[in-house]
């Protein structure tokens, strides 16, 4: 069997970094990293359950844009909109990149020799390559065509909202965002939309002491779209990182999150709610999460819920690593799936690795059908079966959805869930 880089039909073929300025060096380094590790293979431990072939093929499997015929999400939120169409920045559809307490620049336009992002771009991604290789993230750092460099210096007046529209059937988008929050700064970042037929996205977030970062994402509903996304975050002391992702549809989604708690008394919550229906082609959703505690008295939560029907597949690979000296760690991890019929598959690999002796860590993983007793209870009160089932689905999702602190954003997400339920 040849080394992966010897193959001629994958995304490594003929890759070369063309960037100039400060980004040339980190991109070049990332390309070398990628070439030495190779593209993901089924034999890699963390790719056993998700086929990487369509993510690493030279050609993009076509995906039609899907008109959900519903009001766009976050429509009622006062926000700064930044729009990408098939991964290409759209100045027309975007607001001016100006907001109090934050500096926003496009990666494609940041060509100076010296830049604040130099110390971050590809840096958190590279840290996240140990101990688990994440080649698609290195590919992204090397080859991203655009993205945003967001430097938050204070409390932003409103959320920054990234909208990823998908138009072309064969678009192949690679975006890389860097967010740096200074001490005490606050930002809410919203993301929504399918982005492209195939989307590779990296989000690097540096959260300084006492800063807080909130992230709510709704991945696009196009049935045939593919996405491989990574979040790399590093947290200073007394800081907060909260991220929630809703995924509805998508033939293949792999969401990785790598979070490092490096300052004392910080908290990191990451949650995901996925709803998939295999009847629309296929649905395969993979959450792969790695949280490292490397400071004292930090709290982390991983809350992942999946609702599957008609042959849908859900994957969860989650780890809590508590390093030596990370005393008084409070770590929690739960991954659950609700199977609405019998053909679905849910595979979970919860892992704890603990080298400190004074910690509280718990993890749980369950899979099951709708609770018949609860269903009977609701129906006995006159609630019809379909409506009762929907209520129980929302009930199942609640622990993940409740991770969203903002009422308006949470309601928006819940309305997407009920929308999916209404359409089925």
């Amino acid at each position: 069997m040849g080394a992966p880089q010897a193959k001629t039909d994958d995304r490594l073929t003929g890759l070369a970094v063309t960037a100039t300025g400060w980004a040339a060096a980190p991109r070049g380094d990332a390309l070398s990293r990628l070439q030495s590790m190779g593209l993901p293979q089924r034999r890699d431990e963390y790719w056993k359950w998700t086929r990487p072939d369509t993510l690493i093929s030279a050609d993009v499997p076509p995906a039609e844009a899907f008109d959900a015929q519903e009001t766009p999400i976050f429509g009622g939120v006062d926000r700064l909109k930044i729009v990408f169409v098939d991964g290409v920045f759209s100045a027309e559809e975007s607001d001016d990149l100006a907001l109090e307490g934050v500096m926003i620049e496009r990666l494609a336009e940041a060509n100076s020799d010296i830049h604040w992002a130099q110390g971050l771009y590809g840096v958190l991604e590279e840290r996240g390559q140990t101990p688990v290789k994440r080649p698609l993230a290195a590919l992204n750092t090397a080859m991203a065509t655009d993205g945003l460099l967001i430097h938050v210096t204070g409390k932003t007046g409103k959320p920054i909202s990234l909208i990823y529209r998908h138009v072309s059937d064969t678009s192949d988008a690679i975006l890389h965002h860097v967010v740096k929050l200074d001490e005490g700064a606050e930002l809410t970042l919203l993301e929504n939309g399918p982005a492209a037929a195939r989307f590779n996205k990296v989000l690097e977030v540096e959260v300084a002491d006492k800063a807080s970062f909130h992230h709510v994402r709704a991945q696009g509903r196009d049935h045939a779209r593919r996405a491989a996304t990574h979040i790399f975050a590093r947290l200073g002391s007394e800081s907060a990182f909260k991220s929630f992702t809703l995924t509805v549809n998508g033939v293949l989604t792999r969401n990785e999150a790598v979070i490092e708690l490096t300052g004392d008394d910080s908290i990191a919550h990451i949650a995901g709610a996925a709803m998939g229906d295999g009847a629309n082609g296929a649905f395969h959703h993979d959450d792969t999460v790695f949280v490292t505690h490397d400071a004292e008295r930090c709290e982390s939560r991983q809350v992942y819920k999946k609702v599957l029907r008609n042959g849908a597949e859900g994957i969860f690979q989650g780890k809590i690593l508590v390093k030596e000296g990370a005393q008084k760690t409070d770590g929690y991890q739960i991954s659950q799936s609700l199977l609405l019929d019998e053909d679905n598959q849910f595979l979970a690999k919860p892992e704890l690795e603990i080298y400190a002796d004074d910690v509280v860590c718990s993890h749980g993983s369950t899979t099951g059908a709708i609770d018949e007793t609860a269903l009977y209870y609701l129906r006995s009160r006159g609630v019809p079966k379909k409506e009762a089932t929907d209520l129980l689905v929302l009930s199942f999702m609640a622990e993940a959805v409740d991770e969203i602190e903002d009422d308006v954003l949470r309601e928006d997400i819940v309305s997407r869930l009920t929308g999916w339920l209404d359409r089925r």
């Binding site: 006995s380 609630v383 209520l391």
Partner: protein, 250 residues
């Protein structure tokens, strides 16, 4: 009026016979109590009437005001006016009690071809009824039965009953797990709902609930049949002498 005739029921999977010919009629405006030893089939009767899965009716009929209950889905039975207060009310995380109540009220109205109740009217109604049952605003907001004490769960059942205004109420061991004060509160809630157009079937092990909810008729159930029927004095007899004498006499 609830009319049960010659009802035979088996457990679907095991084929075990639980009810072996129950005959029972509860007229509008009356309170009937069913007492009986463990395993006599009391709770099964309540489940079968409300449409729980897992039971097979092998013979007999059950009608509410002439409508065949056994041919209906659970939600249709509810819309027809049947209500079961559960012995073990079910916890539903993530669904607010208020949302649940409103969904139920409106679903039943819809099924009966009535208009949905407005949010304001609903709120007013639920607050008034909750107050009588000493259910505070916090309990209304919390997820259905989650973290409720035993007494709170039973009061919440009675609140649902008060909101849904059923024609026929079945109370399945509503007194189990209740202290004296909680039992009085629940009984007051039930008594407030007594009216000429509404029938009650109160299932209990003990006479003490019947001190608070005074029955018109008391039935003793054993081995899947009603073996004796009488007035309130029958409950006192059970309390004093246990079931043994009655079982022997039957």
């Amino acid at each position: 009026m609830l009319e049960i005739k010659n009802l035979h029921v088996e457990l679907e999977e095991e084929g075990k016979k639980i009810l072996k010919g129950v005959d029972l009629t509860v007229e509008d405006g009356k309170v009937h109590a069913i007492m009986g030893p463990n395993g006599s089939g009391k709770s099964t009767l309540s489940y079968v009437l409300s449409g729980r899965q897992g039971y097979e009716v092998t013979d007999g009929t059950a009608e509410l005001d002439g409508a065949d209950l056994l041919d209906m889905d659970p939600e249709e039975r509810a819309a027809a006016g049947l209500f079961l207060a559960f012995q073990y009310p079910v916890e539903i995380p993530g669904v607010g009690n208020m949302t649940f109540l409103r969904t139920a009220v409106n679903a039943q109205r819809k099924a009966r071809g009535e208009e949905e109740i407005s949010a304001a009217d609903f709120l007013k109604l639920v607050r008034e009824k909750a107050k009588n049952l000493k259910i505070d605003a916090d309990m209304l907001k919390r997820p259905v039965n989650v973290g409720f004490s035993g007494g709170e769960k039973k009061r919440n059942e009675i609140l649902q009953m008060a909101m849904l205004e059923p024609k026929m109420c079945i109370l399945d061991e509503t007194d189990s797990g209740l202290d004296v004060d909680a039992m009085r509160l629940v009984a007051d809630g039930v008594n407030a709902l007594r009216d000429a157009g509404r029938g009650f079937l109160v299932i209990t092990h003990y006479q003490r609930l019947l001190d608070h909810i005074k029955p018109d008729v008391v039935h003793i159930m054993a081995d899947g049949r009603i073996i004796k029927t009488g007035g309130p004095e029958l409950a006192l007899e059970v309390e004093k002498n246990g079931y043994a004498d009655i079982l022997e006499g039957a």
